[in-house]
């Protein structure tokens, strides 16, 4: 780990360079950036001495000198491959900047918009972690998805975050805000793809608000290269009677970390946090989720599954908080990991903090190899060992992927799982 001062110099240089550009903003916005940057400097990156980072060393990130990712024009053919069949509403965000030219948003129904807004114009995300500070300092603008009350968006909206790496390690700082009004319904697909080779660090902050009775179906598909670092902080607030569903699919990156904080802040709000990750080689995937039951009568469901091979490592920490007011909470958490090699490793921890007495909370973890009895059963019917393994891996991953409602996205994710595992 480099000296703190050295680390700070790198970011200071990048921040000073940013300050000279118009995108930095002026007045209150500039002040907010500077304050965020100061907080980042004061806190510094977490180390493995921090409980939340005990199993995830970000020394490889801290060791690099990043520059703020430059504006870039992605290759048209490569960009086309980022899309999903049948998904026509696409917002393209290149290196953290919304490109209206590359996006296809004309067909969006009335009451739905995807726009960019100054970071200072969107609500600050509460003091969560140092990566939020870093994002607030460097995010060029916020990408804001607004769905007006009662508007039901039938077709999914794809937010295609693409990264065009540069010659030097690039820091990409997307900031996303999703606001679904009362009774609105929307499916959002948030994908991350690298177009080209090179080291990148994507540090995204997403702030999602589902108003009372709103329904937000969220797919996050991270399929960046093995050179990428990915840190995503997603905070979700769901109002009375609202529903939030998350399908968090992590298939790429050298280090990929998701911090998801889902607050059920109205009675009868419901959330599903499902996740699938595949890590191979030397990759590390870390999912830290928090479901905060703030009010009564809220069900939450959580299934996280991982497939690890090579020397890959994974961390799962599933925190469930049940506040004193949150009587009749019904929380279920499951996490399972398949270790396909002896050198793969997972650290998993449920973390229940329950302050109400009339609640149901269950959790379970299962870590292991492919079921040998099942493999033999399939072989005994004529299916080759390789095909039997593929079938069992499909079934394992399908448990999470089948929850994705858009077939082309589900299929693309399954194909990536296969590619990652060479099956």
């Amino acid at each position: 780990m480099p000296q703190l001062a050295e680390q700070q110099d790198t970011y200071q240089t990048a921040f000073d360079a940013f300050r000279r550009e118009p995108a930095f903003g002026a007045g209150a916005e500039a002040d907010a950036r500077t304050a965020a940057f100061d907080r980042f400097l004061a806190r510094g990156y977490p180390t493995t001495r921090d409980e939340a980072w005990r199993h995830t060393s970000i020394a490889p990130i801290a060791a690099l000198s990043f520059e703020r990712a430059a504006a870039a024009v992605p290759d048209a053919a490569a960009l086309a491959a980022v899309g999903f069949d049948g998904v026509s509403h696409v917002a393209v965000i290149v290196n953290g900047r919304l490109s209206e030219k590359l996006s296809s948003l004309a067909g969006l129904p009335t009451g739905v918009s995807v726009t960019s807004a100054p970071v200072g114009a969107v609500p600050e995300v509460a003091d969560l972690n140092v990566f939020v500070d870093l994002n607030s300092a460097f995010a060029e603008h916020a990408i804001v998805v607004d769905v007006a009350p009662k508007v039901v968006v039938e077709a999914p909206l794809h937010l295609a975050f693409v990264t065009v790496p540069g010659r030097t390690p690039a820091l990409v700082s997307p900031r996303l805000v999703v606001r679904a009004g009362d009774g609105a319904q929307v499916t959002i697909i948030e994908s991350y793809t690298d177009l080209g080779a090179g080291v990148t660090f994507t540090n995204v902050v997403a702030d999602i608000h589902a108003a009372p009775s709103a329904f937000v179906d969220h797919v996050k598909l991270e399929r960046q290269s093995s050179e990428a670092f990915h840190q995503a902080t997603t905070i979700v607030r769901t109002g009375r009677g609202g529903t939030f569903r998350s399908h968090n699919v992590t298939l790429g990156g050298r280090i990929a970390r998701n911090d998801i904080i889902s607050v059920l802040e109205g009675e009868g709000a419901e959330c599903t946090l499902n996740g699938l990750y595949v890590a191979t080689g030397e990759a590390l995937v870390d999912n830290h989720t928090t479901i905060d039951h703030a009010k009564a009568h809220c069900p939450s469901h959580e299934v996280y599954k991982g497939i690890l091979s090579g020397h890959a490592r994974a961390v799962f920490n599933g925190k469930i908080v049940v506040r004193p007011d949150a009587q009749k909470t019904d929380a279920k958490q499951t996490n399972k990991a398949l270790l396909l090699t002896d050198d793969a490793q997972i650290n998993t921890k449920p973390q229940l903090e329950i302050f109400a007495d009339d609640v149901k909370c269950t959790h379970g973890a299962a870590i292991g190899q492919l079921d040998e009895d099942a493999l033999f059963y399939l072989q005994a019917r004529g299916i080759s060992l390789a095909a039997a393994r593929t079938m069992l891996i499909h079934a394992f991953a399908g448990d999470v992927l089948n929850g994705i409602r858009t077939a082309s996205v589900r299929d693309a994710a399954m194909r990536l799982v296969e590619t990652q595992l060479s099956i």
Partner: protein, 254 residues
């Protein structure tokens, strides 16, 4: 001779279970293997199917002129060996029809036959499901998941009906079946009796043999076949129990 087992010795969990078993089965025949618990009946079935937990330490198995012990479990299946499991495995997330179509096409491919598409397969599957009086919805459920004991055993024989093996080994298919389920499973098996197919029925009880009438009955004791005879041998066992066999077996070895 379709199957010829000579001096078969098998170890499992660190114990010698089969200690020099000889057995010959002709095409078109039904053989019953009976014997007390722990005599090695299921070990024989599992060794024939190539279960990795059963180590063959000696002897030979010739099947269709092939050295069966040289073949992987899936190769045995493709050559027409089928074992109905005593404890069918539940596999979450794999649809019964999808699984069986993959199995059938693997077998067909091995035989040089064209693979069946989904429509052709479903036609065949529905037809065979009738034989076992199986509810069609079982085809769309995960393999054996949440099936009752009877449904699991029926599903095994259903798979046999679809895969049309040359040598079928039924490992205690009658265990855990009520009389109605037993009748259905047995009539399914009987419908599959054919001149080019041999069936080995492994069972502890005579009861199943009232429905699936064997050509030959063997009694297994302490890892060897100690007596072979016609159907009347099963009835004799039913009447006298296994006790009268064992001292003889011990005597024969001494």
């Amino acid at each position: 001779m379709l199957l010829e087992i000579k001096d078969l010795r098998v170890r499992a969990e660190g114990k010698d279970i089969l200690k020099g078993l000889d057995l010959s089965v002709d095409a078109g025949q039904v053989h019953a293997i009976m014997g007390p618990n722990g005599s090695g009946k299921s070990t024989l079935a599992r060794a024939l199917s190539g279960h990795p937990g059963y180590e063959v330490t000696g002897g030979t198995i010739r099947y269709k002129g092939l050295d069966l012990l040289d073949l992987q479990p899936e190769e045995r299946a493709c050559e027409g060996v089928f074992m109905a499991f005593q404890y069918p495995v539940e596999i979450a997330g794999i649809n019964n029809a999808y699984f069986l179509k993959a199995a059938l096409n693997a077998v067909r491919k091995h035989r040089g036959e064209p693979e069946l598409d989904a429509v052709e397969f479903m036609r065949l599957a529905r037809d065979r499901a009738k034989l076992l009086e199986m509810d069609q919805t079982m085809l769309n459920r995960s393999v054996n998941e949440g099936f009752s004991g009877g449904e699991k055993k029926r599903n095994e024989i259903f798979q046999m009906a679809v895969l049309e093996p040359t040598l079928a080994i039924l490992d205690e298919t009658d265990s855990g079946l009520d009389i109605d389920a037993l009748r259905i499973v047995a009539s399914g098996v009987n419908a599959l009796r054919a001149p080019d197919r041999a069936i080995i029925v492994v069972t502890h009880y005579q009861r199943l043999l009232n429905y699936i009438v064997p050509d030959v009955v063997h009694v297994l004791s302490e890892g060897r076949i100690v007596r072979s005879g016609g159907r009347e041998l099963a009835l004799e066992l039913e009447e006298k129990g296994y006790g009268w066999i064992e001292p003889e077996a011990t005597g024969a070895r001494a």
